[in-house]
Symmetry: D2
């Protein structure tokens, strides 16, 4: 049983098949091929927009490239204090931008509230020699497995734009959000004020494929140069593109996310009746967060089950007792009910 992350799982079959199918003959390299062209068109169709699209192999790359295209070296980036860009990317935004500053904002369950963002703006040093507020980055679904609704994204974007701040969405688990929200992707992205997004797929069934989608046409046209000089322009681009294409074909991406989310919900429901454990917030996507006594966690860690201990920041913000442990469980399109039942049984036995 591996609940550490959705990126431990295999490639979904339709995607692997699409790779195989594209491996027939030589094509133009570096993205000048028809497969790439078609994949980009399909993404534009999916989002109902004429956007600039770039494919890269990692979410960190997509995030850092996006953020650096709207943030000068002397710019600041507002983000949640548990965001991936702040805690898990070893300074990628700082590196790609040439030294920007992240402004971490606390917020319940991984979400930045309108008030939290307004306070952060108010607290930002503001004389003419200070960092220039440049970017707001929100994660959808969040690092805590929660989801911003349309109204929330709209309000955050509006506030950002009022201060001439661009809005980036880290959509590493965007499919899981759409699966839950059941709305058109446009509604929660460019129509809600998102200027640029990382549209992730790796965590939801591809081998390694992320798209940068530039909705706001005013954003620097030099993304191709940023991608090239950071080593993120793949020569055999078609194999990236074909993953993106098949990912959104025949609703595959939503089907996969539906499975992940339903498995998470299934686990959530089961865990509600397990003794001694707490879940600090409701599961909305494919991540379950569990507070449990340290003693129990110690026993659990010796079982044949893998999970992730959650961040020190999260533990601190929840002000957990010293005798508590805080863990994250992630489901995927590949998770079986059996595994969950087994996991819950183990937990019940330990207690």
């Amino acid at each position: 049983m591996n609940f550490t992350s959705d990126n431990t799982h295999i490639i979904a079959e339709p995607i692997l098949n699409a790779i195989l199918k594209s491996n027939k003959s030589s094509v133009t390299s570096y993205g000048g091929d028809e497969i790439t062209k078609k994949a980009k068109e399909k993404i534009c169709d999916l989002f109902g927009v004429d956007a600039e699209i770039f494919f890269v192999t990692s979410g960190t790359a997509a995030n850092a490239l996006s953020i650096s295209s709207v943030t000068p070296p002397y710019g600041s980036v507002f983000c949640h204090n548990e965001s991936h860009i702040h805690l898990e990317e070893c300074g990628a935004p700082e590196f790609f931008s040439g030294g920007c500053k992240l402004i971490p904002i606390k917020g319940f369950a991984g979400k930045i509230s309108l008030e939290g963002f307004q306070n952060a703006i108010n607290d930002h040093p503001s004389d003419k020699y200070d960092f220039k507020p440049s970017c707001l980055s929100i994660t959808q679904s969040t690092e805590c497995g929660t989801i911003y609704n349309e109204k929330e994204v709209n309000e955050l974007s509006s506030l950002a734009h009022k201060y001439n701040i661009k809005v980036h969405m880290d959509g590493a688990r965007f499919a899981n959000a759409i699966s839950t929200l059941k709305i058109k992707p446009s509604k929660i992205t460019w129509e809600a004020g998102i200027d640029i997004m990382s549209f992730g797929t790796t965590k939801n069934g591809t081998m390694s494929a992320e798209a940068i989608i530039v909705f706001n046409k005013k954003i620097s046209k030099d993304m191709n140069l940023r991608i090239k000089r950071s080593g993120h322009l793949l020569s055999k681009m078609r194999f990236l593109s074909v993953q993106m294409d098949s990912y959104i074909t025949d609703n595959l991406w939503i089907n996969l996310a539906d499975k992940s989310n339903s498995m998470a919900n299934y686990m959530y429901q089961k865990l509600l009746s397990v003794k001694y454990i707490d879940m600090p917030w409701k599961v909305e996507a494919n991540e379950i967060f569990v507070i449990l006594p340290k003693e129990i966690e110690r026993k659990l860690s010796k079982q044949d089950v893998l999970y992730h201990k959650w961040s020190k920041v999260g533990i601190k913000d929840l002000a957990l007792n010293k005798d508590k442990e805080f863990i994250r469980l992630v489901t995927s399109y590949n998770t079986k009910k059996d595994e969950i039942d087994q996991f819950v049984a183990i937990l019940n036995n330990i207690n």
Copy 2:
């Protein structure tokens, strides 16, 4: 007929099969898996050395990460004036190092001569407020499809080390060099003084896989951080690793390179008897360089054959007449004799 580059071609079957085979169950992400461990061990075995190994998806990334690990922001990097790092990477070495300076060195057929390197050292500004000579980067096989022999690499490395300069090998087409040299990889790398290398495979049959091999143990142990913050740490690492593994299994890499090289040699021999064209140097790997009258090239470009016009730097250094064009033709493990015959026929017909 596509002779533009070896990166336009398909994935070799054994490599694709290996990817399929590795897609069975969940494994630890970010390289903590057994597949990755095994692939690294096999590379160490291949090179007969205990080296640190990292996998990334592009040659530019491998080069820039390698170079930045031995070059401070205020360091200078000696390289050929037609090298990929100087002409084709849009400043990746400058970006990753934080602003280093490349010192381009002229040299016949893509090779830096010992004298050329010594002169470049002599010409380097040398007071205590100048760039610090930090790295020599040589390409094997070179961007001109030529090959350094053991003696040459040894001599260049020795000279570099005398000045406390580290030596990087850009091995984007390393297989093609080994295929020709018919020596153990160790002989032309760490035993010949190479400190760190980019071991490329993408141009010779994988989907997208390059290894950074750190031979010199004194080189910064922080490569993992550089990789992470540049967005080059893949979560589903196994799919990279398995490509590397199968690439060097059962001599696949050399077999593929043998084919590429023999096709190049076949074309070279055929072209020797084509009128009006010149080849400025002998083919040693899988690239053929052809000088031809502009008029003929214009006609050729309208045929169903793809190739690359060579760099302005190269044209300048050869002091070509204005009525000449300079093109590059690259063969791959997938090139057919038929295609070459057809290409030569077209050329003969045009004349």
Copy 3:
């Protein structure tokens, strides 16, 4: 009456005279002159140590150069959450280091406590792909006009070194600290574990002169290159050096700081009896922090007296009521008792 900052004041006479005296004949530029050599020797004598010394024109430069010499691009820097490097330098540490991350630590009255530092270390992400804890930067005297004693510096340094973290002291107001502590400079710097320091003088009587003092010989010998490429190597270095020399000659620096500090203490004592105002901590150097009703501050701001509203961070950490204002008053060697009396009279009248 100008209490905004000590950098609004004039050059102390002995220093100006020394500049005049050094303006006699041509000397070697870029620091190769005898005046510079002598100034460096005198600083070494003052600190009783054989250190490497560099002169630059701003405190931000001294701090950023120092920090970047001990912090790689992927390194993190612990500092107080009200520190100058975090709030007032527009990302200089991030720029010079190539994208490091500052870890702001809360602490009463501008000081980092041992516990606060230990907690920050504990809270620091710690897997092999996270920022590398590299530097602790403390300010002496602090941005809140308080002072670390020997024991405190020693303990912080020891803890830092335990984790292989280097210690930087921002000594923009170092003289004010020594004036109060009445100890040898060595005791509170290298003997207490400081690896590198910014020894400021501009705020205490020079025109513009700061020294970087490298106590720890293991720190990169390439500071000269960092200084050059950041545009901080002055050609007419002697005029910087002579300021440094005269600053520490005949105890001038301490005499000036004594005056500043005594004026601050005089103001502090007077303010103790002013109604409606609070001072959150005792004055230890030359800065007085005053909490006063917003209404009174509004009236005060219309008088002929200049001061600085304190940082939003500071206000937040003290959890001040919304109807309160928080201001900083700085005295200098040039401040007159009259001015203070007048200021206090104004305040009393307003009430």
Copy 4:
């Protein structure tokens, strides 16, 4: 006798007096003072333009800040292959821009010819993944003591602008150029297409003061942030400003440059009749370049006379014989005829 550089000399008296006069009372720091405001207005008047102006302490800073404001990290900068920014600043343009690439252009006597610039543009890699040509930097007077006339600057700027390349003038010795050209500063700067310039004064009589003049209003308004984060915002700005003010008051700057230039011309005329030496080009400003037999130079170096051996690049481009040495002699407003006579006598005696 010190002919190494004009920056070895003393501060001109009127400038020192102005500093003294400005040292009366406290003023707003960081440039918010009246002295600074007035100095900027006077520079605008001098250039007959409404420009943005910033004061910094070094020419390298002025150059790097200027260049980085018009050059993105992935931009390239055309410059002479003997330019200060290329050979003498240890990568400041690369550092400040975040990794740009300098494109050195050969040209007789330190000048970039129109043809040379056009060729460099033609030779520049030009696909959509290459460095973006962003800046042309010319030095006036040049590093070889020669001067661009109006027509030349106009033509170079026009060509640059045709390719959307901004033009920077390194005016470290701008006064010497104006002294010779005898035209209004506007004619050879913004009216001739210069977008931004470094207006140097340190080499011509101030202590340490350089102005960045932004003529082109479209250039980033964030220069203040770049200056702050690079540590180049002086707190006691007035002492910089007052140098700039007095420098251009009562034609001081031109009077000083007239003296320097006339001394250079005097030396040039005298040297014309010295045996065994050559001067590769006519003296136009305050620098004399002399080719002389190595043997003679060896003897000269033992005399009481200081000068600078010229760059290896320059020697190479002139294709000097191995038995020749190439030296630079710089005069200043402080150079005496006596010294020159004495120097020439020494040379004559050596022969």
